[in-house]
Symmetry: C2
Subunit: 157 residues, 2 copies
DNA sequence: ACATAATATATGTATATACATATATTTGTA
DNA sequence: TACAAATATATGTATATACATATATTATGT
């Protein structure tokens, strides 16, 4: 017999704030806090492979295009954090031989960016760990997850 | 007559990813993306006053204690991003005369941190703008906001 | 009381990030 | 065609962040 006990900790308790001025205020803080928490846990996994979250995300974007190349502009467009410097993240990936730039024949301004086979292997190693992490981080039923996804999509308007 | 049209953009469209491997994967990305988006918009407001999001949050923690002091440790405990360096954020606030350190009599290891009247004034100026921003960023009804808060609390487990 | 562990904070350092600006190329237009 | 505007990317620089380590003080066990 298994007994699962889930203790739900309200955001008020997590950050020791007795009361928020409104549910909206609370939501902003709840979202940022939960987002940070998740990023932190994912980072723990990536650290073992010497990858940052940003580098990992770019690598996944590159895999999404593979065997076609992406451009830096396409990467910026698809990144979660639009402000970060895609060009320098690609620099880092190139340095680690996980990605490679080639010149775009049609438009010489563009740099084509490919994922290397070393990059593909690394992602493959991470896929399973990341999936296990997802489940352990999210203490919700599938139905709740769907509701949450819909609400977040609506939130952004 | 006012006509409000809200166009809901799914996370798939926002970051141009056709399909996620599961609703759980989608949720992780949705959360981090939405959190970043909100942080970004809040930052836009704070930039006018030359504050970073972290500095603002620490300042609010200090106000929450006022007229009592906080300690650096208490700040770390209540911060959204546990990894950041509270000590150096307090340095920055002190440099701007928004906060002040004094020595704790009982425990000489602790630094008591107070918010200054300049700090209180600055927060007061920001309160209204931040509240307006909250409402404009969150395109949800109060009931939906409550559901979302509960789900996020449950998610973290 | 003394040594050791634990705690609170600060600092050093490498890397990452935000933002402004530079460079190269392509596009639009008079 | 020539020239300004737009686009794609890269780079310079100040600041922020993550992580390890140092320092000072207090708590704890013998």
């Amino acid at each position: 017999m298994y007994i699962h006990i889930f203790v739900t900790m309200r955001i008020e308790d997590e950050i020791k704030q007795e009361k928020f001025s409104s549910e909206y205020t609370k939501l902003l803080i709840n979202l940022v806090y939960t987002g940070n928490r998740i990023s932190f846990k994912t980072n723990e996994i990536l650290k073992e492979k010497n990858l940052t979250l940003q580098q990992y995300n770019v690598l996944r974007i590159l895999r999404g295009q593979h065997p076609n190349p992406a451009t830096v502009n396409m990467i910026i467009d698809r990144m979660l954090d639009k402000m970060s410097n895609a060009s320098r993240i690609v620099d880092k990936l190139e340095l680690k031989k996980l990605a490679q730039r080639t010149m775009n024949k049609e438009d010489k301004r563009c740099a084509d960016v490919h994922i290397t086979s070393k990059g593909l292997d690394l992602l493959l190693e991470l896929d399973e760990k990341v999936k296990v992490n997802e489940r352990s981080v999210i203490h919700l039923t599938l139905k709740e997850v769907k509701t949450l996804n819909d609400l977040l999509d609506k939130l952004r308007g």
